[in-house]
Symmetry: C2
Subunit: 353 residues, 2 copies
Amino acid sequence: MSKFWSEVTRLTEPYVPGEQPKVKNMIKLNTNENPYPPSPKVLAALKGAVDGNLRLYPDPTADELCEAIAKAYDVAKSQVFIGNGSDEVLAFSFLAFFNQGEQILFPDITYSFYPVYANLYRLDYKEVPLNEDFTIPVEQFFHAEGGVIFPNPNAPTSIGLGLEQIEKILQNNPDKVVMVDEAYIDFGGESAVPLTRRYENLLVIQTLSKSRSLAGLRVGFAFGNEQLIEGLNRIKNSFNSYTLDRLALVGAKAAIEDTAYFEETRSKIIETRHRVIGELRQLNFTVLDSQANFLFMKHGRVDAKQIFETLKEKGIYVRYFNKSRIDQFLRVTIGTDEEMNRLMEELATGILS
Amino acid sequence: MSKFWSEVTRLTEPYVPGEQPKVKNMIKLNTNENPYPPSPKVLAALKGAVDGNLRLYPDPTADELCEAIAKAYDVAKSQVFIGNGSDEVLAFSFLAFFNQGEQILFPDITYSFYPVYANLYRLDYKEVPLNEDFTIPVEQFFHAEGGVIFPNPNAPTSIGLGLEQIEKILQNNPDKVVMVDEAYIDFGGESAVPLTRRYENLLVIQTLSKSRSLAGLRVGFAFGNEQLIEGLNRIKNSFNSYTLDRLALVGAKAAIEDTAYFEETRSKIIETRHRVIGELRQLNFTVLDSQANFLFMKHGRVDAKQIFETLKEKGIYVRYFNKSRIDQFLRVTIGTDEEMNRLMEELATGILS
């Protein structure tokens, strides 16, 4: 605590990201990165953009990238907002659409950055308890005083919500913004982007970090009606005119345009997930039905924290949350088949015995 | 205006950056970019970092870059904060150290983003009038209720302030943060970074956009005592854990380490500036004494806006501010010698006649 800190700084409770250990040859299944590299076309585009023009500011409106995203998702360019990772898009969205004194709603078990944003901006919030089976209690999100946010699929539960359920939440919050955080949507969920045409209160947030293998490039985006996108731009242009560097703009565009590579790698992850879920259940794990690139699972007998720590000693990093309701669960990113085989071996030949 | 906008969004008055025209072969002297490309070592480092590891998150603490900066500026690593351009560092700093209800001070003629940040966070501010000669009235910044920020050299005036004057401001605000925005310091000013060892209320903000030719990479940083840096990290980690992508981290480190190229290019700009100021004065321009990579000047007879528009027609972009006290001035970035010769020719052979 310092006398120089503002009241806001004193009251923050900063987010703690998953470990980024500097250990060689580890198997990294703890922060939901994609096990496959970015598209070769992305790498080629990035190399091509490393030149003397880096002395010049980037396009502050990210025109070309907006156009590429609009084309790929069949929306108007004016319905697309770009940010420095979906975390920045979320940070702007909370400020752009939620008001102090009006309670916002999100699940009790969800992305742990939401309460951090709410604290930063002094927003009231209520954590709505998930159902016993970790599904979202849809009716509990009706008539929110300040607005709604939830991930679909939810994290860390991996469970997806159908569009008809999302429509109910939208219809029952006509005057408040409902944010659907689709960081993991490309691994089997049903995207709400088409609903942005019909619901002016819907903001859908996506990222290149997961399904496009570009966590290292920091690009996120949002879809919504023009009024919402204009609101986001007002906040962004009051904060930082140039949020994406020239390389990120070029790499992101190439990633969006390489549909074939995107389809190939996400299919591989879905296949691996399907196989591994079956094998884990045979080892007496309860594994929730996942529509994401990670699993949420607990063992019938062995303590989750113990499994987490033993795996870490073996060089396999997964994520453990010391939080009530989920402290017997592990979140495990879907890696390559080889990585998942190593995980299964370690589990089968020692940890669970 | 939309019913979905928060009160904050409704009240914002977003910053308008200088034009980034998509015109070929123009001479771009309007946004204070460096006319020389980044160091060849930066480009090589960037190319080397374009690989499959872009699938992984960057280091959220920017450890290696912090170390390189600390070494280059002879401070402790814990005294360095990194951001996505100095605009983001400024945005975090306003939130981290200034409080609602406590008036902050900055000059009336200065970087026009300051009032935008203040509006975003609902901070009270007073614009302190510069002296008639556009120098900073040092005593007017004593005993600020909420804190102080000014650029050194100031922009768009280009005039620098000596360290003994800055010390007076620091000594007369012992309980409030004084921010010195050194975006242009490397072109002849005297940096306040060494003062951070003695003044716990001093935050110095710099950028790679100008003197390191990397406006396109978006890297800024701040120096201050550990308490201030911890405050900035609390805000940053409540907003976005990963503000710099893997490429920006690598390119920035290479830029900081290539001292020889930095010295060479900034010397060239200082030399060009010296020559051009002499020539402009011969053409009846009043040119303020510049310690920056731009000039602030007005003609004895011809209207500034007219010069601005005629230059634009000729493909030469400079900056004009339609603002009282300075509406007869132009801000002109120092380009290459060839670019400045073209400017002088156009001025001498038509515009002023």
